[in-house]
């Protein structure tokens, strides 16, 4: 058996070697290669899957890349479409170069022969990234949806595993959230006929009915308190309308929204009058790293039936939180009065190490994924103590583009962010990763690696949605989840 394995392996190596072609008589180009994805000058973590790339120019017949480290070790990749680096050799190379850089020499074969470009650099960070990311994938539709699901991607390989797909029930699988990237605690919202919130606490999963007498609807956007006992939910009445001509085709907006605190120990959904005012829409809650502050965004509600959506501007706010008593402070502080800038703030996400706050800013509304102007901003936590006046200085200089940059999350060590962007074609959302150094400097983001990125992303008809890091495999029992969702039994949250 062993002999057979060696024979097959040797044959495979022989075939691969036989297929490769030496770069010869190459014309030396003075420019950097134009590649897809653009990995030139990116910063990557040790353990990331190989950054295979293709020539951006589709007329290339072959691409060849030699990755060299400072000690002269080399990794060679070549293919008709993509570099196809050997995954083990790739991991060996980057594991030997934390804090160092790699030089990538690219050659491409065209009809007129080989061209060799100026080498570019990939920086290998000492900061590790988490095990994987979990995201929703769905077609970027409007009213209807077909197949969608929550998927887990192991970042050191190209392996993607479905956690749950809506083919198992009738409905839409929606906002998922982990407690600081820990896969054991998870909240997952299901909409439609079998609507429920699945909660997994210490590995035990139950289906909840989150509508109580004290709340206006079902729980939607969750955020876990770092202590693990509480989950802050927004409760939203959401609508969508469509632009007839505007390039932002769609508007998703709330007609009303409140915040409510769920106490997992008492199974109580606690309504706080200050966070559930009728005249104000509060949404996108998140706790500070120490758990003592709740951040959220709020806007003045527009009159019922109004379509003056350009007048909806969310401000970044905070309120003190006491995890001992599960109670909030007496007053809300407005940290960023985006309204006065004719802007809107959404999705505040404090880093887990307490150093930064990242949010998305757009022209108006609370759903920036359909807004091409949406960008990411990052503010040092120390600057949140006073109202922010000059917000533009916090606009992230490297990660943003002219197209949408939106939903984002931090890795557990707060040195990496994952965010969604429509920079590639303006329609399909893709996941990008960027390194944030000690000083808060963002690095050039890199697209989530794939074995053959061009084929993968060209053929993928789905958008990525709500990405979040996880520290280990989620190990989700989808058959049990399906049974829970399809059954009529629900644990009723008690309103308080």
């Amino acid at each position: 058996m062993r002999a057979l394995s060696i024979y097959i392996l040797s044959l495979g190596v022989l075939l691969i070697t036989a297929c490769s072609e030496a770069v010869s008589n190459a014309k030396q180009e003075a420019s950097l290669p134009e590649i897809f994805p653009d990995y030139t000058g990116v910063t990557i973590p040790v353990g990331i899957a190989p950054l295979n790339f293709c020539m951006d120019d589709r007329s290339a017949l072959m691409v060849d890349a030699v990755v060299t480290d400072g000690k002269g070790r080399e990794l060679h990749g070549q293919g008709e479409e993509t570099t196809g680096f050997d995954i083990d050799q790739w991991h060996d190379l980057i594991a030997n170069n934390p804090g160092d850089s790699l030089s990538v020499l690219v050659s491409a074969k065209y009809e007129d022969g080989w061209h060799t470009y100026q080498p570019f650099t990939i920086y290998v960070s000492r900061d590790a990234m988490d095990y994987g990311v979990v995201y929703r994938k769905l077609e970027p539709g409007y009213e209807v949806y077909s197949k969608m699901g929550i998927y887990e991607r192991e970042l050191s390989t190209f392996e993607e595993t479905p956690l749950i797909e809506n083919t198992q029930f009738s409905g839409c699988v929606n906002c998922h959230s982990f407690n600081k990237c820990a896969p054991t605690d998870m909240s997952l919202h299901i909409r439609g006929k079998h609507g429920t919130t699945l909660l997994r606490l210490d590995g035990e999963m139950k289906a909840y009915n989150t509508k109580t007498d004290n709340t206006m609807g079902l729980c939607v956007y969750p955020y876990w308190h770092p202590g693990g006992r509480y989950i802050m939910y927004s409760v939203n009445t959401t609508q969508q309308v469509f632009h007839v001509r505007d390039s932002n085709r769609i508007e998703v907006y709330d007609q009303a929204s409140d915040l409510a605190l769920y106490d997992t120990e008492k199974n109580e959904l606690i309504n706080t009058p200050l966070l559930a005012r009728k005249s104000v829409m509060e949404t996108f809650p998140s706790f500070s790293a120490d758990g003592k502050t709740l951040y959220f965004v709020q806007a003045t509600a527009i009159p019922e039936g109004s379509k003056e959506l350009r007048n909806i501007h969310y401000n970044l706010c905070s309120i003190a939180f006491d995890s001992e008593t599960g109670s909030f402070g007496e007053k809300i502080d407005t940290i960023l009065m985006a309204e006065s800038l004719n802007k809107t703030v959404t999705m505040p996400r404090p880093s887990y190490d307490g150093r930064f706050m990242m949010f998305t800013m757009a022209d108006y509304g609370q759903f920036p994924i359909w807004h091409h102007e949406a960008d990411l901003y990052m503010v040092p936590t120390s600057d949140l103590k006073q109202p922010i006046t000059d917000v533009e200085k916090y606009r992230m200089p490297v990660v943003n583009t002219d197209d949408t940059e939106s939903f984002h999350n931090w890795s557990t060590n707060s040195r990496w962010i994952v965010f969604s962007s429509r920079r590639d074609n303006g329609l399909f959302t893709r996941l990008y990763f960027s390194h944030i150094d000690e000083g808060g400097k963002d690095s050039k983001p890199f697209l989530m690696p794939q074995a053959n990125p061009r084929r993968y992303y060209d053929e993928l008809f789905m958008s990525y949605n709500v990405p979040d890091f996880v520290t280990a495999p989620v190990d989700f029992d989808d058959i049990k989840a399906e049974k829970l969702i399809n059954s009529t039994e629900r644990v009723q949250m008690k309103g308080r």
Binding site: G141, V144, R245, I250, N425
Partner: protein, 580 residues
């Protein structure tokens, strides 16, 4: 002297010939359906589509079926492929079921069921979501028969191995794996080991689900691959009958094979197959006319659209909308549209599936009225629901191209280029009319409104645009809506923009009528042809006399149709209108 065996042969070959002629005839009269099948059948190149299908039992055959469906672009080629597969089913079925002489004709029955399954869909063709439908069942059945033939050529003691193989083939064959095992078991008196095989079979789906298909609902796993016609709002079990019958007849052939050696079997089978197909086949002139009009409209062949419409007696909403679109492009909408007819008729839809103008013609309509965002949204939604088939990819590309989103165009065009008949396809340049209409309206927010009435309402609001095309359309659609308030606003604008041009006939007709009957303040005095004026008076005089004569409300329109059917007044008073 005619021998008995010759009679048997003659009956067999005559029956076969008649059935073949019948099958060819049925495919010939359904060429438009087959072309539409290719347009509405999703097959995408690449790993995602492949793995998506492979993630479900029977996915491989759906993939193969999807690939073959591309050839229905040329319905003759597609028909030949189908006939070829069915021919093989006939031959291989005879071997697999060990049929001889007249008995082989019994294989005409499953073929008739498979043929029926292609021509009984009616309006489900626009709404069903079964990938690779047009070929997958035929190909899978053929492969199952091949396996059965091979299995039956092996010694009896090997059958247990074949049961295990059947179990192993379940991911690829779905319900045909079950059919294969049942047929094999029934070929001989079952032994204990075979009974164990049956028990195993019962658990096949459950075992495979636990191993591979946890993301598929249990009820869909058990009979995986058997087409089910279900949408969020509709369900039709009748359309699944031909496939159930394929299974039942296959089992019956195994059980009753020895009784089939009768000279009349071919005649009975051929007649039964023909009667079954005719009974279940969906046939309606408007159904195919809509398909032909859509095909011509997509290719911007507006003259053809008008020709097809002219042949129709009782057009549907989709046909009326496409005809008006053609008139916009060919010119003369305000002189010809009501003459050609805007009276709409419901679709013949015995299944009551919720299909409307939205699914049939609006992908093209939105684009051609310059409503690119709506067009993009609608095509994307339809693609999501029923698959990103060529029609949606083409219209998505055209809408994105018209919006200047070239990277998005690239996405869809690349997928289309994987299709053997669309390798060089590129979105056609945006027509000047379409550009002008698009530029003539302002951005606004709309709700979830996709319908014929939405198009009509929207366009009838374009009366304050400076575009000549838009002003003409606004005037026309205000007339179509019978909305006198918008008519006056549109007319004023139209007259300002079209100075020095002839006052179109239908606009004159509407002008006289609204001047005479509508309560709004008359702001304009326009010259009207004496003929039209006289005819208008005659219209009301005739109507009055018919009412006085005691003629019923139902009879009056019929009586007046010949003389006044082509006027705006007739439409306004009698026609069934598109919802406002």
């Amino acid at each position: 002297m005619i021998t008995k065996s010759k009679i048997i042969d003659v009956l067999l070959y005559a029956s076969l010939l008649i059935f073949i002629v019948f099958a060819v005839f049925i495919l010939c009269i359904n060429q438009d359906v087959l072309y539409t099948a290719h347009e509405r059948s999703e097959f995408l190149i690449g790993a995602h589509f492949f793995y998506d299908l492979m993630a479900k039992p029977f996915g491989l055959f759906q993939y193969i079926g999807g690939w073959l469906s591309q050839f229905l672009y040329n319905p003759v080629v597609g028909s030949c492929m189908l006939l070829g597969i069915w021919g093989l089913i006939y031959i291989v079925g005879g071997k697999a079921f060990k049929l001889k002489g007249s008995a082989t004709a019994v294989m005409l029955l499953p073929i008739a069921f498979l043929l029926t399954s292609l021509v009984d869909l009616g309006y489900w063709i626009y709404d069903f979501t079964v990938r690779g439908y047009w070929f997958s069942q035929s190909v899978a059945y053929l492969v199952m028969l091949l396996l059965l033939w091979v299995a039956r050529c092996t010694p009896r003691r090997w059958h247990l191995v074949w049961y295990v193989i059947g179990l192993g083939l379940y991911p690829f064959f779905g319900w045909f794996a079950m059919l294969f095992v049942i047929c094999l078991i029934l070929t001989e008196k079952p032994t204990w080991s075979e009974i164990i095989g049956i028990v195993l079979l019962v658990f096949t789906a459950i075992i495979w689900r636990a191993l591979l298909y946890s993301d598929v609902k249990m009820e869909e796993v058990v009979m995986a691959g058997l087409p089910r016609f279900v949408t969020p709002s509709d369900q039709n079990d009748i359309l699944s009958i031909p496939f159930w019958l394929v299974g039942v007849v296959s089992i019956l052939i195994v059980l009753a094979g020895k009784y089939l050696a009768n000279k009349f079997v071919p005649v009975v089978c051929a007649i039964a197959g023909i009667i079954f197909t005719i009974s279940f086949m969906y046939r309606d002139n408007n159904y195919t006319a809509e398909m032909r009009m859509m095909r011509s409209a997509e290719a911007d062949k507006w003259g053809e659209v008008l020709d097809i419409f002219t042949e129709s007696q009782k057009p549907t909403i989709s046909m009326v909308m496409l005809k008006n679109l053609a008139l916009m492009n060919e010119g003369g909408i305000l002189d010809r549209s009501f003459k050609m007819g805007n009276d709409i008729n419901g679709i013949y839809n015995p299944d009551s599936v919720h299909v409307s103008f939205l699914e049939i013609a609006s992908p093209v309509t939105y684009y051609n009225y310059g409503m690119f965002n709506e067009g993009f949204r609608l095509n994307f939604e339809c693609g999501e629901q029923t698959g990103f088939s060529p029609i949606y990819l083409k219209m998505l590309s055209r809408c994105a191209f018209a919006n200047g989103e070239l990277e998005v165009v690239d996405r869809f065009v690349k997928l289309l280029h994987g299709h053997p008949y669309y390798r060089d396809w590129q979105p056609a340049p945006v027509a000047e009319n379409v550009k002008e209409l698009h530029n003539s309206y302002k951005d606004e927010l709309t709700g979830v409104e996709n319908s014929d009435s939405y198009v009509i309402n929207s366009i009838s609001c374009w009366y304050d645009s400076d575009s000549k095309v838009a002003s003409e359309q606004a005037l026309f659609f205000s007339m179509l809506r019978c909305d006198s308030r918008r008519f006056w606003a549109s007319l004023k604008h139209y007259i300002n923009l079209h100075q020095g041009e002839e006052f179109p006939v239908h606009a004159q007709e509407a002008y006289i009528m609204y001047y005479d009957k509508s309560p709004e303040e008359k702001k304009m005095r326009l010259p009207v042809s004496q003929d039209i004026y006289d005819n208008y008076n005659k219209f009301w005089a005739t109507l009055e006399s018919l009412i006085k004569s005691g003629m019923s409300q139902k009879e009056i329109p019929d009586k007046m149709r010949d003389e006044f059917g082509g006027t705006y007044w007739y439409y306004n008073i009698f026609a069934k209108k598109i919802a406002r």
